[in-house]
């Protein structure tokens, strides 16, 4: 910022600085702490009258958990603010007496009078509706109205309700649940990857306590890595991504772990068909520090072992996964709080042929993340969160048969730092700015092969190193009572740096030489400006219109050889040949409350343009990757997606749930695929319907049901065949030119809880009173795929018979995974 601009803007807007002499020392300050620079302008707006701030944390009175996105409404002015990710809120108002009304889903409203004659620190403790059931009428279930916010395509998932929804084999799964939301599509069974508005699974930013999770699935994709017991908050943003988030073009799934109960020790857990889990939490120092540890492990291997014939080739094989979430926090003062959270999960698949000469494999993979955070409150108006992150994903595949051995490994490790300021200059503005930096280390697929003592000469490919950085600023601004603007700007930069061993190839793809880059040398760099704008206009108390435009850059890519997500898929950085992906999304929406907010509905339409999309060239295979650059067989092109999403939710009453419908079309165009003709993307689904319902019969029985329907997956099938050496050769033409049968399924669940209270007779007085039970337990019975639909997992063609005598028969076959599957889970809490 130039001095002249500084002076003029300050003079014009701020009576305090009218003389201008302030500008010089201020400018020095700005040079020192330039991070504040974008905001001084806004700060200067707020000093017109005598104003004071009321700020503090909103927490659960029983557990001390910070409540994210709670609404703090100031009755006198008819405006409200929301709590941030750490439960912090701040409102700056003219001097006076105010009534704060705090609302949060599942909690009773809390009213508090505040006499604002000075800055006030008001921490607000909410009680759950269960705790106050008899005493207070529950007025609201809502956090922030969809009508009021500028958010588009943003969904909050209520974690507490997850357990009452049916789940495959009783495993409550966050990633499966978000697939019921409109605009979010799944790949059916066997894949927890999700597709948002025509984007691929690698275009979703999945964050666990701010740390990126690179492969969010267990068991080749059947379950997600998130243990719902340890999760406090799930936020999905499928469009209109605020400037704070970046690095992915499609969506953000931000998962926040519980902090742990800082009042008393508690535990919960469950025993299911394939796994068990246990969560313990409690205070370390009461009201100051707490911890939570949550672990789960599958025991299919233990259960399956007796059934595997010890004579069989696969005796000694096993499969299991486990994960551990842990978090601790310490409140140093009202101004400072520290968090340390970690996740560690591993899948281990052993295939041990017990006969001489039979193959042996060991395939471990998994994620680990650690994030350390520091919250600091500079003053009532400025909140800082600093996060240091390590994220690690590893995959390895070692095997052997006879004298041959090979090992394939890949992975990615990130070291990151995020500094994020929340500034609340006045009630009309909510400003966020900061920077983010990540150092990526990629291990692309590394192969080692030997025959006896002779190692094959495959070079160890260099690890790939990259810097990724971004600065951003965003302001949520009430321009008028009806018009609200969220405008943000993000500037991102990415550099692939040495050391790097580059193979130089000729036009035919033959390696003609190599070139070495030194440590830190920049091999390729890219940057981008990412504007993010969202507008909300309230037509009346029941209707609002929203519009948003976003540009997103993505510098890392997931290169997949297979048509479904497998742990073998490798993350690669942008580099000399691989340009960053870009997406521009335009969205329009109409939001409406119905029947006194009993229902809410919305219609959103979007158009998304995607550039520099990646696919492997036709016929590429991982074994071609030795002695070649990491981007050896990629082809590039563009894509686009458009669609409409309808959503109707019933929020209140015994029956709650929603119906979502999405119509969309997603295509790609690659010069090297199908002669440059557009083809349907693998993530193209024309129609997608989901219905989710919950019914609370009484305080013991709860029922849940889900139904999904989606257009069949696009697949590439052979159209012709020919014979060479007597073998059938398939000829493919149109990429994804064929549709598999539609996917649909209905699941039901019933949960039986023991009574939440019990009668206690006082031995001295003989008085009978009702108290809360300390130990609570519940049974969840669920039936997956209740009408036993044979949904296609994949198609294949089977050739049988022979040409000589009976003739050859080619039969198309459909493989389905799960037929009707009942399960039962026992959950407990104390």
């Amino acid at each position: 910022m130039a001095t002249t601009r500084c002076a003029s803007s300050l003079r014009r807007n701020s009576p305090t600085f009218r003389d201008g002499y302030f500008c010089a020392p201020l400018f020095a300050l700005m040079r020192l702490r330039h991070l504040f620079a974008p905001l001084l302008f806004l700060l200067s707006l707020s000093v017109l009258a005598q104003r004071y701030s009321v700020s503090g944390y909103v927490t659960d009175s029983a557990t001390g958990e910070a409540l994210i996105g709670a609404s703090v409404f100031i009755e006198e002015i008819g405006k409200g603010v929301g709590t941030n990710n750490y439960g912090y809120y701040s409102a700056t108002l003219p001097q006076g007496e105010y009534t704060l009304v705090v609302k949060y889903i599942g909690y009773a409203d809390l009213r508090r009078k505040v006499d604002l004659t000075a800055d006030r620190k008001v921490n607000l403790k909410l009680r759950t509706t269960v705790q106050v059931m008899q005493a207070v009428e529950v007025k609201s279930d809502r956090t922030k109205s969809d009508l009021e916010s500028t958010d588009m395509g943003r969904m909050d998932v209520d974690v507490t309700k997850l357990q009452t929804l049916p789940a495959l084999l009783g495993e409550v799964d966050i990633l499966k649940t978000i697939q019921y939301l409109p605009g979010v599509q799944s790949n059916g069974e066997g894949n927890s990857g999700f597709y948002v508005r025509g984007g691929g699974p690698d275009q979703n930013l999945i964050l666990l306590d701010e740390a990126t999770v690179y492969n969010a699935s267990h068991l080749f994709g059947f379950f997600s890595v998130f243990n719902a017991d340890a999760v406090k908050d799930i936020e999905l943003i499928k469009g209109g991504m605020p400037a704070y988030y970046g690095g992915r073009t499609s969506s953000v799934l931000a998962i926040t772990m519980k902090d742990g109960n800082d009042q008393e020790f508690h535990g919960e857990g469950g025993i299911g068909l394939i796994s068990s889990r246990l969560t313990l939490e409690g205070p370390i120092v009461k009201e100051r520090s707490s911890f939570i540890v949550s672990a789960r492990r599958t025991y299919v291997d233990v259960l399956a072992k007796p059934f595997i014939n010890p004579e069989s080739t696969f005796a000694g094989s096993g499969y299991y996964f486990y994960d551990i979430n842990a978090k601790a926090n310490y409140r140093l003062s009202d101004k400072d709080r520290f968090f340390l959270s970690g996740y560690f999960g591993r899948d281990v698949f052993d295939l041990n042929g017990n006969q001489p000469g039979s193959p042996k494999f060991k395939i471990p993979w998994g994620n680990a993340t650690v994030s350390g955070r520091w919250n600091h409150v500079f003053g009532p108006k400025l909140f800082l969160n600093t996060t240091a992150i390590i994220s690690d994903y590893k995959f390895s595949f070692a095997g052997g048969q006879d004298q041959f051995g090979f090992k394939l490994s890949s992975g990615i490790r990130d070291y990151g730092l995020k500094v994020d300021f929340n500034l609340y200059p006045n009630i009309r503005h909510n400003v966020r700015y900061g920077f983010q930096y990540t150092y990526h280390i990629y291990t692309p697929s590394t192969v080692a092969v030997n025959s006896g003592d002779v190692p094959f000469n495959i070079d160890t490919p260099s690890k790939l190193n990259a810097h990724e950085a971004a600065v951003y600023v965003q302001d949520d601004f009430d321009i008028t009572d009806r018009l609200r603007l969220n405008a943000g700007l993000r500037f991102s930069w990415f550099a692939h740096v040495g050391p790097f061993h580059e193979y130089i190839t000729d036009a035919a793809g033959n390696t003609t030489g190599t070139r070495d880059y030194g440590s830190g040398d920049i091999i390729a760099q890219y940057s981008g400006i990412e504007p993010r704008v969202a507008l909300r206009y309230s037509l009346d108390k029941k209707n609002s219109l929203k519009a948003s435009v976003n540009r997103n850059m993505q510098y890392v890519h997931l290169a997949s050889f297979s048509s479904i997500g497998l742990p073998t898929d490798t993350w690669i950085p942008s580099g000399k040949n691989v340009k960053p992906q870009e997406a521009v999304q335009y969205a329009l929406g109409w939001f409406r409350d119905l029947k006194e907010r009993k229902y809410e509905g919305s219609i959103e339409v979007y158009y998304k343009d995607m550039a520099n999309q990646i696919e492997y060239a036709e016929g590429a295979s991982p074994q071609d990757g030795g002695n070649a650059n990491y981007d050896f067989a990629l082809v590039f092109g563009k894509g686009w997606s458009y669609g409409a999403e309808l959503f109707l939710k019933r929020r209140l009453g015994k029956l709650t749930g929603w119906v979502g419908y999405t119509w969309s079309k997603t295509e790609r165009k690659f010069p090297d695929v199908d002669n440059g003709e557009p083809f349907p993307s693998r993530w193209d689904r024309r129609n997608d319907i989901s219905v989710v319902a919950g019914y609370e019969l009484n305080d013991r029985w709860t029922f849940g049901g889900t139904f999904v329907y989606s257009t069949g997956q696009a697949a590439t099938l052979p159209v012709q065949r020919y014979f060479i050496e007597g073998r059938l050769v398939s000829r493919f033409t149109q990429r994804n030119g064929f549709r598999m049968a539609a996917y649909h399924r209905m699941d039901l669940a019933a949960t039986l809880k023991n009574k939440p209270t019990k009668q206690v007779t006082d031995p001295t007085t003989g008085e009978v009173s009702t108290v809360q039970r300390k130990y609570r337990s519940s049974w969840t019975f669920s039936i997956y795929n209740i009408y036993n639909r044979k949904n296609p997992y994949f198609y294949y063609f089977d050739a049988s018979g022979n040409t000589g005598t009976v003739g050859l028969t080619i039969q198309a076959k459909q493989v389905s995974l799960f037929s009707i599957l009942p399960s039962v889970t026992w959950n407990f809490e104390f």
Partner: protein, 319 residues
């Protein structure tokens, strides 16, 4: 490795499978070439048509897919050879044997089928090591062409049989083994073919033709200049119905077998064809691979025109 997720599914889950009907779009027919030229031998060219995926298949319909009356020429070293169409019983034994390899059909049956190949008749029109051959075909309104060179044949240092010891108590099943020294120049491709030339009780030869098992094409990208040992399983007669292709002997040679071995030396494009052919054939029905066409070196059509160096050897399978 591609099968692993499969195995997992079988171990853990109750997957199920059913027959379905798939409506595939109709595409225009293409011509498919399977041709080769080897040192000291006449060129061999077989032309077929693509068929609809679910067209009926028996010996007749395969025979009907052969393209007759094509104009086929080979240009080399300034000469143009016009290839002749030779049919059924008119084929000489060596060409008939080649036709067996190329079709996977017993040559004894081919001799009586409505079946023609294109070859030369002149005594001097034979393959020469290091020579380049351009193939031109004109048939059914289509024009096809391809170019290939006969590489220097790389010999196998030695070949032998070794028990696999994979079935408990077994003392007769094993693999064919070989040692090879790859020359210290890049771009050498190899393909293995083997034929059991001992006879069954019925008097038939165990394999009526040479068979290359899937995955037996190699290039020297990772083995350039190395000397190493490798083994090969027994390829099956794809449409045969031999008991040893269905029981525990599947994929193994057996003590008592005599194996005629052909080690082909081929160029880069020819390797690309055979390697992608193996992948395409082997991934029939495999979800975990992306659908991939075979990489042909034929312009205007499909298939392969290969100059091949050949090394021959024999293994007698002893315990």
């Amino acid at each position: 490795m591609k099968l692993l997720p499969f195995i997992l599914l079988l171990l853990l889950l109750s997957s199920c499978e059913k027959d379905i009907t798939v409506d595939l779009p109709v595409y225009p027919v293409e011509l498919v070439v399977d041709g080769h030229i080897q040192p000291g031998e006449r060129p061999f060219v077989l032309i077929t048509r693509t068929q609809g995926y679910f067209d009926p298949t028996d010996l007749n319909s395969i025979a009907n897919s052969f393209v007759n009356d094509a104009t086929v020429t080979i240009s080399t070293n300034g000469e143009v050879w016009t290839l002749q169409q030779v049919c059924g019983s008119a084929l000489d034994p060596a060409t008939l044997q080649d036709a067996g390899d190329a079709t996977g059909i017993d040559p004894a049956l081919l001799a009586f089928a409505n079946f023609c190949v294109y070859t030369t008749t002149g005594a001097q029109q034979l393959g020469v090591i290091g020579q380049t051959y351009r193939l031109d075909i004109s048939a059914e309104g289509k024009t096809l062409s391809a170019v290939s060179t006969i590489p220097n044949p790389v010999p196998l240092d030695s070949v032998w049989f070794q028990l696999a010891l994979q079935v408990p108590g077994d003392d007769s099943l094993g693999f064919a083994w070989a040692r090879i020294s790859d020359p210290d120049t890049m771009g050498n491709g190899y393909r293995w073919a083997a034929q059991r030339i001992n006879h069954r009780a019925t008097g038939q030869m165990k394999d009526p033709f040479y068979i290359s098992p899937l995955g037996s094409a190699y290039n020297d990208k990772y083995i350039n200049g190395l000397t190493f040992e490798f083994n090969e399983a027994r390829g099956r007669q794809f449409f045969g119905n031999n008991p040893e292709d269905e029981n525990e002997e599947q994929g193994y040679f057996k003590v008592g077998d005599t194996i005629a071995v052909k080690a082909y030396s081929i160029g880069t494009k020819e390797y690309d064809f055979y390697s992608s052919y193996d992948t395409n054939v082997g991934s029939l029905g495999d979800l975990f691979s992306t659908p991939a066409n075979v990489k042909s070196n034929i312009t205007g059509g499909l298939g392969i025109w290969a100059g091949r160096g050949v090394y021959l050897d024999t293994i007698i399978c002893l315990p």
